[in-house]
Amino acid sequence: MTRTLRFREALREAMVEEMDRDDRVFLMGEEVGHYQGAYKVSEGLLDRFGAKRVIDTPIAETGFAGVGIGAAMVGLRPIVEFMTWNFSAVAFDQILNNAAKLRQMSGGQLECPIVFRGPNASARQVGSQHSHAMEHFYAHVPGLKVIAPAFPADAKGLLKAAVRDDNPVLVMESETLYGVKGEVPDGEHLVAIGSARVARPGTDVTLAAYSRMTYVALEAAEALAKEGISAEVIDLRSLRPLDEATLLVSVTRTHRLVVVHEGWPYGGVGAEIADRVQRMAFDALDAPILRVGTLDVPMPYSAALEQACIPQPDRVADTVRRMLARGSGR
């Protein structure tokens, strides 16, 4: 049996279930309590769990990210919400130098079972300082895990798995997905971190995406289908670890790969996927791997320009057409 839930409700259920199950789990962040969450993800949690376990913080990301890490290293299991991932930039050192390093610096004595979560990448016209796709910075760092679900069921299952993970897990959500509905299995629902999912089977080209871009890839696949082009869409779900097997199996069949992601082109998750696949499936590729990402500029406020910067189904479909016409990107 399943129920239809919004993305934010699925995340909330995951937190409620894990907090019910384990009283070492608590939620901390700006406006998560009395305000019921800047994006209402934590609505009702303060009433349900009280101020001891649902903690409103001042605007001090370095401070409360560090508090979470410190609490985790002595055995609590914090969920730290960044109002948006953009603001994690002021806490970057805490995540890079403490969360990711504690276990190894201590020779394995200490653990850091913490979850950092919040909306990531573009919202709508919030400008250059509020539109970062931060996963490209964090997926680079050993010691961290990074997940980016697209559907409510995965949001719930992956967040629950993240809370139970003994390593720091960063959950990349999307303000533009919080209202999206989807079927969520009843009862205990866990999704293993590190497994991608074929969201739409196809034979001519593989589209790899995650978070909101999975919907963009699916739309492009729909459009291409009308032209008789069969695109397989892989929803990565997890960025670090990356599910190489699922990618390789698909590319070995389709011989073509287009990676769709928000965020700038230089480096990052998209480049990593291109690098791995050309390395591991070199002979299987009939065309160079292409990427559809955010244009290489700070995000503009103008609605028209913002939409032009963010990957759209058309841009994805055009890229596939170019590729099938043996476009090598030159």
Binding site: I59, Q125, L305
Partner: protein, 344 residues
């Protein structure tokens, strides 16, 4: 809305007011001048809210309604070539520093005629010509920049003062500590104006700071401090002027806590459930704009109506301008990202 009725007569007439003889009252003239600025801000913000509701403005919109006396009073204490820098709640500050309503509203409408070519939006109002160095979106992130601007003035000995505005919610973050700390250590010509409007989104100061007197933070830096309410724009000007004088003449920084209140929610998406209607009404009774208008009784109703009319005309013109302007095109992006060749 009742709180604005004074400043915004339901009918925008007279658009073409009959000239009125001037009184020999320099103080009143000055107050009228400040009143006009506050009224302009109030009306621009009201129209911004309306435009937002109509979908003409996107993203976040943080209104300055209720806080006009802070920006107008503080900036009245400055020279035109002094620098100002603030947060995303920047419309009032930008207008007070001299930005035109046209350039501000065009920016909100995402037009290429906007101060930032439609690339910045509500949170990023920049006006180099008027030394308005921008609105910034990361809480506390602009405070070290402000110290740097003041550092440059000291380095060049150009006699300028920098005023850095921020909310009381910024006082707990590292950027505040480091920016203020360096300004105190290096004796920079700067005034830190904390606009304490009692809330950081839905968080009252009592839940974000161990002390409720923000100005006490100055003790930890051995810095001068001041603390007062912003009901009277002239009082704000007077008090900030003292800090500006210290900055200009002795090159020492001051932390000024100005107690104010925002009549609207944090942003357009905030219903402000965290405060009572009674609390809000009480503050609206202390509306600095209404207070200034009352204080201007001796200035003459006719001339006040004239000012209100001018403001209405200016806002109407700016709205037309913003609506009629062109949107920026894609080619603007690369050259605003890098000076010279693009680097990829």
């Amino acid at each position: 809305m009742p709180d604005d009725s004074v400043a915004s007569p339901s009918s925008p007439e007279p658009t073409k007011p009959t000239p009125v003889a001037a009184t020999p009252h320099p103080e009143l003239d000055h107050l009228a001048h400040l009143y006009r600025k506050m009224a302009l801000i109030r009306r621009v913000e009201e129209e911004s809210a309306r435009a937002y509701a109509e979908g003409k403005v996107g993203g976040f919109l943080h209104l300055y309604i209720g806080q006009e006396a802070v920006g107008v009073g503080a900036i009245a204490a400055l020279r035109p070539d002094d620098y100002v820098i603030t947060t995303y709640r920047d419309h009032g500050i930008a207008l007070a520093k001299g930005m035109s309503a046209r350039s501000l509203l065009a920016e909100l409408f995402g037009k290429v005629t906007g101060c930032s070519k439609g690339l910045g939006g509500s949170m990023h109002m920049f006006d180099k010509e008027h030394h308005m160095l921008g609105g910034y979106g990361i809480v506390g992130g602009h405070i070290p920049l402000a110290a740097g601007v003041a550092f440059a003035s000291k380095y060049r000995d150009d006699g300028r003062v920098t005023v850095c505005f921020f909310g009381e919610g910024a006082v707990g973050i590292g950027g505040f500590h480091e920016g203020v700390g360096l300004a105190a250590l290096w004796k920079l010509p700067i005034v830190f104006v904390c606009e304490n409007n009692e809330y950081a989104m839905g968080t009252p100061l009592s839940r974000s700071m161990s002390l409720e007197d923000v100005s006490l933070k100055a003790l930890g830096y051995g810095m001068d401090r001041d603390r007062f309410f912003a009901d009277d724009v002239l009082e704000v000007e007077r008090r900030v002027a003292e800090a500006v004088k210290r900055a200009r003449e002795q090159s020492t920084p001051t932390l000024v806590e100005v107690r104010t209140y925002r009549f609207r929610g944090h942003s357009m998406s905030d219903p402000a459930k965290y405060r009572t209607q009674a609390e809000l009404e009480e503050h609206k009774r202390r509306d600095p704009l209404a207070r200034a208008r009352t204080a201007l009784a001796g200035f003459g109703e006719a001339r006040l109506a004239e000012i209100d009319g001018e403001v209405e005309a200016e806002v109407a013109d700016a709205l037309r301008f913003a609506a009629d302007s062109e949107e920026p095109t894609l080619e603007v992006l690369e050259r605003t990202t890098y000076k010279g060749d693009f680097a990829y």
